[in-house]
Structures are given as structure tokens and as C-alpha cells.
């Protein structure tokens, strides 16, 4: 949230810098089974974001102290490749990646039927290859596709989309400039079949009306993305 109010990111026709309308989502490509050695995997290209997610397990949880006697644990590791942005990222975990791993884990724990695999672990590795804006949403969405691809029982898929405010206009699926210089950002994780919310963060200020608008944009976009996820999972069966 740079808050550079003089940067014009919406033109007089109401179009954004990349030609999208306020409610439009960037182009998305989803592919499953991209990591042959993994139990399940997904490659998701969302605009210029690209994430590869691999899922391993359920397997024995090590070290033993992390085991839960009545359910499995999900071990999420979100990582941005050093070359994923124009400024090189120092390899390894940092505060931001730990936070995103934690919120992604919490969101996934609410859909995976963990009680079926007591004392075991499901490992989810999210690698961001190219980052523009909204990588946590791409990572979470791709992780839920990879979990489904691995045959892990889940009550629903998780779709994550972010909306925000730019030049006092609420827009859906922020790009890099809108994310950096916009006034607010509202990423959400939604279960498309039930409409339940499993993940919500907000950065910046939104009025109740703007919040409602951003919420509606996210729900609408989530349903669109969910269709693509379903197509990818069904198409992944090479029919």
C-alpha cells in the first residue's frame, strides 16, 4: 500500500492499466500432474504469477513431536524462488513466507478430512516461480488442486482471490502496480460449493460499502476460477 494518490491507475473509461474492467480477473492456466514423483501436483499461471505445488503423503510425521494422535498435520512450505521477482530474493524462509505458510495451512486444514489419517503428515510445497501480485492466492488455490490431484479426501476445493482499492475504485485481482500503489488489498479464501470463508486478510482501509463490493468481486471471481480448477482436474484425467 504505497498510497501514491497521484498515480493514475484507472483511466477515464474506467479501465485499468492492463485494460481490464474493475471486476475482471487475469488469465489463468491450471495444469495437474506436473511433478511426476509427487503424489499430487499443480502448476498454476495466473497473469504473470506462476506457482508449482507438490503434495506428498499422507506419510509418517517426523519428528514425532509434531504428530497429532487423532488427525493428520499439514506441513505447508511456501517459498519464492530467488529469481521470481526483479529484486533477487534471499533464498530460505523469512517472516513473510512463514506467515503465508501458516495462513495457507490453516485454510487447507479446514477442508482436508484430517481425522482419516491420524498421526500422519501431508507435505505441501508451494514454489513461486514468477511473482507479480497475489502469490498467496495463487499458492493456496494451486495447493488445493494439488491436494485433490493427490487423492487426499477434502470437503471442497479452496479458491483464493484478492480485491482491493485503487484511486478510490474497488478492483478485483490486483496486479503489481495496483498492489504496490493502491490503497487497500483484501485476499480471501472461499469454498465455492458452500460459500464458506476459510481465509481472510486485509491491508489498508476500506469503507463498509467498499468492503462489500470487494467481497462480491472475490466471490464472483472465485466461482470463475473454480470452474477452471474443475476443468483442470477433470482434464488431468487425459480424457
Amino acid at each position: 500500500m504505497g498510497g501514491y494518490g497521484d498515480v493514475q491507475m484507472i483511466d477515464e473509461n474506467g479501465l485499468r492499466m492492463d485494460g481490464r474492467k474493475p471486476g475482471d480477473v487475469r488469465p489463468i492456466t491450471i495444469e495437474t500432474g506436473v511433478v511426476p514423483v509427487a503424489d499430487g501436483s499443480c502448476r498454476m499461471v495466473w497473469g504473470t504469477n506462476e506457482a508449482i505445488v507438490a503434495v506428498y503423503g499422507p506419510m509418517e510425521a517426523h519428528p514425532r513431536k509434531i504428530q497429532k494422535q487423532d488427525r493428520a498435520v499439514i506441513d505447508v512450505a511456501y517459498n519464492m524462488a530467488p529469481f521470481s521477482t526483479t529484486d533477487r530474493i534471499r533464498p530460505g524462509f523469512n517472516r513473510r513466507s512463514r506467515e503465508i505458510s501458516k495462513v495457507t495451512q490453516d485454510a487447507l486444514e479446514s477442508v482436508v478430512l484430517l481425522e482419516l489419517y491420524p498421526r500422519s503428515k501431508i507435505r505441501v510445497s508451494i514454489e513461486i516461480i514468477s511473482a507479480e501480485a497475489g502469490t498467496r492466492c495463487v499458492g493456496l488455490t494451486a495447493a488445493s488442486v494439488a491436494l485433490a490431484d493427490a487423492g487426499i479426501p477434502m470437503t471442497d476445493l479452496v479458491v483464493s482471490v484478492a480485491s482491493g482499492k485503487v484511486n478510490d475504485v474497488v478492483v478485483c485481482d490486483l496486479n503489481k502496480e495496483e498492489d504496490n500503489y493502491g490503497e487497500a488489498d483484501l485476499p480471501m479464501g472461499i469454498l465455492p460449493n458452500t460459500g464458506e470463508l476459510v481465509f481472510l486478510q486485509m491491508d489498508g482501509d476500506l469503507s463498509p460499502e467498499e468492503f462489500k463490493q470487494a467481497w462480491d468481486y472475490n466471490v464472483e471471481a472465485a466461482l470463475q476460477v473454480h470452474k477452471l480448477m474443475v476443468e483442470a482436474l477433470k482434464g488431468g484425467a487425459k480424457q
Binding site: 503423503g57 489419517y117 485433490a148 487423492g151 477434502m154 470437503t155 476445493l157 482436474l233 477433470k234 484425467a237
Partner: protein
């Protein structure tokens, strides 16, 4: 009961440009959270969940309906041990009186000294089965927590010393074995190999190198074809 065919849902793809008969097979593949119809008079089988008055899929796979039971045959599965299963395990560790065996399940199995292949002195477990060895064993007991105990007391249960090991998804074993074991018998005859197919999807193949390679090629073919909709059942 809802009279609508269970395989046709509002949220499924019904594009007219799909390739003929493949479209009808496509509609049988379901994804987690997908609505499979009303739960009235329906029994939930494997891979489905009753939520309120609706039946929902919990796995990506092919939907089956037998009588009033709806189930989903997953496209990918992990082996879940059951008592009596014949399995191939790899020794992953040992203590003075127990071996830890990886049988491809979510949790390692244990092989107690008393159920081992030979009489072992306390502390001499590694002399009989060392880490990295492969064994043909049988699941004796499975606890609620998925912890299982395997045994090597039984006919044909032994340490594997020759041949090659291969793997196949457990739910595809039926396609390898065939009705009444016909496919497997034919493969054994054609390739002149000894083949042991175990319930955890691991196979032991012994014979001439060319023949082993031929068997592995056929298994790979089954595995790759399995991704085609309708074969995973």
C-alpha cells in the same frame, strides 16, 4: 428421491463441442466438493460424504452407482493396510527387538522379533534383516491409528534376495491381475517370469533381464493408461 440422473449436475461441463462418447465418460469424473445429488435413499460409499440432504464427493475420481450406493473410485490412492494383506515392505529401521517396515501406508509398520523370519537373539535384529532390505510379509493387525503389525510367519513369506521390484497404484491392481487372475497368468506364461503382486501395489518380478524389462514395460503401460477416465474403477 431426486429423479435427475446422478451423473448430470448443474455445475458440470456439458459443452456440445466435446468429443462424442468421451463426453459421457467425462461427466463421471468428479472433484472434491462436487454435489452428487440428493442423499434420500442413498448409501454413501467410499470417497463420498453426506452433508445435510446432499451427497458430496470428497475425492477426485470416477463416480460409481451400484444399487443405491454411490461411491467414488479415486484416480490416485495411497495404500491403506488391512489385516491379511500380502505386502512388500522395506526395512527402514530397527531396535533391539523390532524392525520398522515401510509398506507404503501413511504410517510405518512394525515387525516384532517374534514374528521375524528366523530366531533372533535380543539385539541381533540387524544380522537377520538390515536397513534397506525388502521383505515379503503379511499384515497381521491394524490399529485404529493406522499403526500396523506385519508378520513373516507364513508360507512364502521371506526376505527378497533376487529379481526386481516395481510399483503400481493399489487401485489398479485389478487391471493387472484380471478376472480370476487371467491377465497375470497370461503375463507370467508369455514372459516366463515369476511375479508376485502384493496388496500395497508393489510387485516382485524374477526372471531373465529382458523378460523383467518386458513385464515392467507392460506395468508402466497399465499405469499410464489408467489416467484415462473410466479405467480407474
Amino acid at each position: 428421491m431426486n429423479s435427475r440422473p446422478v451423473g448430470q449436475f448443474d455445475n458440470m461441463s456439458n459443452e456440445s463441442n466435446a468429443d462424442g462418447p468421451q463426453d459421457s465418460r467425462r461427466s463421471l469424473i468428479v472433484v472434491p466438493g462436487e454435489d452428487l445429488g440428493s442423499s434420500e435413499g442413498i448409501e454413501a460409499g467410499h470417497g463420498v460424504l453426506v452433508v445435510g440432504d446432499r451427497v458430496k464427493s470428497t475425492k477426485q475420481g470416477r463416480m460409481n452407482r451400484k444399487g443405491n450406493t454411490i461411491s467414488v473410485s479415486p484416480l490416485h490412492t495411497r495404500y491403506m493396510p488391512r489385516p491379511g494383506d500380502l505386502v512388500i515392505g522395506h526395512i527402514e529401521g530397527c531396535t533391539n527387538n523390532i524392525w520398522f517396515v515401510d509398506i507404503g501406508a501413511p504410517f510405518n509398520s512394525i515387525l516384532p522379533m517374534s514374528l521375524g523370519p528366523a530366531k533372533v537373539e535380543f539385539g541381533g535384529t540387524r544380522k537377520v534383516l538390515d536397513i534397506g532390505d525388502s521383505i515379503l510379509c503379511r499384515v497381521q493387525e491394524v490399529e485404529e491409528t493406522h499403526q500396523s503389525v506385519v508378520t513373516m510367519k507364513g508360507m512364502g513369506l521371506r526376505k527378497i534376495r533376487s529379481g526386481a521390484l516395481d510399483e503400481l497404484d493399489p487401485h489398479l491392481l485389478g487391471h493387472l491381475i484380471g478376472k480370476g487372475g487371467s491377465f497375470l497368468r497370461a503375463m507370467k506364461m508369455e514372459t516366463d517370469c515369476r511375479i508376485v503382486v502384493t496388496d500395497n501395489g508393489r510387485l516382485w518380478i524374477d526372471g531373465d533381464l529382458e523378460n523383467i524389462l518386458e513385464v515392467r514395460k507392460r506395468i508402466e503401460k497399465i499405469s499410464s493408461e489408467a489416467m484415462i477416465a473410466g479405467v480407474g474403477a
